[in-house]
């Protein structure tokens, strides 16, 4: 199983590296959105709840671009059927895709968080950065699992570009709520506070719940 996941993950990263179909688009989208917010809010800087909300909503919409592309190469080029013909555990695909999406999200945040700090954020992010990265990581795990599940469901339908966001966005709402509530004290103007433990626990539980649901359902989603 470990070798299969490693082989599939390597393939995912190689295909993205060669085609650059997901991460550059996600990063560009997030930076553009911050610029739009900068002008739409008519404020030079934001902090606290508003800053946390803008950051999480932007990251989730940018993540949707990656989710929509996650199975496209497999479906259009037949790689998914190649995988289905192999005598391997189907969950290996779930793990590899989730890890690949997690890598894409980390790459997105490497661009988006500095851009956010530069374009919109009032307080300095330096002191709160380790905690912010922790909260983002918890949210990323949930987005990666839900995104993979939804992408696998949508990929075999003709309306996959529409179905993906329609299914994913409601499922992402608890992540936005938990992530924004946990991030808000870190982006407060008067100095960074601690992220509330209950929202961190909520994010972790949601990740666990969707991890279990994804493992239970993924096989069925890939079947005819």
């Amino acid at each position: 199983m470990r070798l299969t996941v490693a082989a599939l993950l390597r393939k995912e990263l190689l295909v993205e590296l060669r085609s650059l179909q997901s991460v550059p688009g996600m990063a560009l989208f997030s930076v553009s959105t911050f610029v739009v917010f900068h002008f739409a809010l008519n404020r030079n800087s934001i902090d606290g709840d508003l800053a946390a909300g803008v950051l999480w909503v932007t990251l989730l919409f940018a993540a949707m671009l990656g989710v929509n592309r996650l199975f496209v190469a497999d479906a259009e080029e037949g790689g998914l059927e190649g995988f289905l013909l192999a005598p391997v555990d189907r969950s290996a695909m779930l793990l590899a895709k989730s890890l690949a999406l997690l890598c894409f999200l980390v790459a997105l945040e490497l661009v988006a968080v500095p851009a956010f700090a530069l374009l919109l954020l009032a307080p300095s992010i330096g002191q709160a950065l380790p905690q912010l990265l922790g909260v983002l990581a918890l949210g990323d795990v949930g987005v990666a699992l839900i995104g993979t599940l939804v992408a696998a469901l949508a990929v075999r339908t003709r309306a996959r570009d529409l179905l993906g966001p329609l299914l994913a966005l409601p499922l992402f709402v608890p992540i936005v709520i938990g992530g924004a509530r946990a991030t808000s004290p870190l982006l407060a103007l008067g100095g960074a506070g601690e992220p509330p433990a209950r929202w961190l626990a909520t994010l972790a539980l949601y990740d666990l719940l969707f991890g279990l649901i994804a493992f239970a359902l993924f096989d069925f989603l890939l079947e005819d």
Partner: protein
């Protein structure tokens, strides 16, 4: 040829004792795509080591039959047994013993031949040395790192054939295997997928003479139904050509 059993819709249960040694056994198979019937009441028995050639016009159900046998599609009616395993219940047991060469190469365009084949080698638990041997055998080693999107259709077809036989499958399911191949390339792939491979084969073909020459058993499909189902020795090219009229 005596061991061959050919079942048409009008000959139910003809598999008999020979069915015990069957690589493929299909009875009353039906498959639909929504309302459209792709296969209806198709029956056949193919012995191990033999070749079944499937003829029929476009949309007759040839590719659907291959995809059902490959475990990619579920039968909607009838029974399907491949290499002793009932589908779809025991599909997990038969995957890895089948090699499917379809219209699509089932490869990634942004990866090279070596990367694609190594991925499949890892999925099938095949040692990586076999990838290099196949690249050499199919004269692909010089372009092995080039992304597939930069290669000709013929070269991609050769890589797809390498993928099909990489794990030494017992049953080959070949949909127009010589498509896009020049005569030299056909000669290269023959030891792997031709009669000398000694594997059980199901081949979809539009070439009556060529397909008949390779066949032990012939199945002609029209509108998803078996219009011709006979031992190859009892069928003429003319009868096969009739299917297309």
């Amino acid at each position: 040829m005596a061991a061959l059993q050919v079942e048409g819709p009008g000959r139910p249960g003809a598999a008999g004792v020979a069915g015990l040694n069957a690589a493929v056994r299909v009875e009353g198979l039906a498959r639909r795509y929504g309302e459209r019937v792709a296969l209806s009441d198709v029956s056949l028995t193919l012995q191990k080591g033999h070749t079944l050639t499937v003829f029929g016009p476009n949309g007759a159900g040839k590719s659907t039959l291959l995809r059902v046998l490959a475990t990619l599609l579920r039968p909607h009616a009838g029974t399907v047994q491949v290499l002793g395993c009932a589908l779809p219940r025991e599909a997990w047991a038969v995957r890895g013993r089948i090699g499917l060469l379809g219209h699509e190469p089932l490869l990634y365009r942004d990866l090279g031949a070596r990367e694609n084949l190594r991925l499949h080698a890892r999925l099938h638990g095949v040692e990586l040395g076999r990838v290099e041997r196949l690249l050499e055998l199919l004269d692909l080693h010089r372009r092995a790192t080039d992304p597939l999107r930069t290669l000709s259709r013929g070269m991609v077809q050769r890589i797809a054939i390498a993928r099909t036989v990489l794990h030494e499958p017992e049953l080959l399911l070949l949909d127009e295997p010589h498509a896009h191949l020049d005569p030299a390339a056909i000669a290269l792939v023959q030891p792997l997928i031709g009669p000398s491979s000694k594997r059980t084969r199901v081949i979809c073909s539009h070439d009556p003479a060529g397909g008949l020459a390779e066949a032990d058993l012939v199945l002609g499909l029209r509108g998803g139904r078996a219009a011709l189902s006979e031992s190859a020795g009892r069928v003429g090219v003319g009868e096969i050509a009739e299917l297309y009229r």
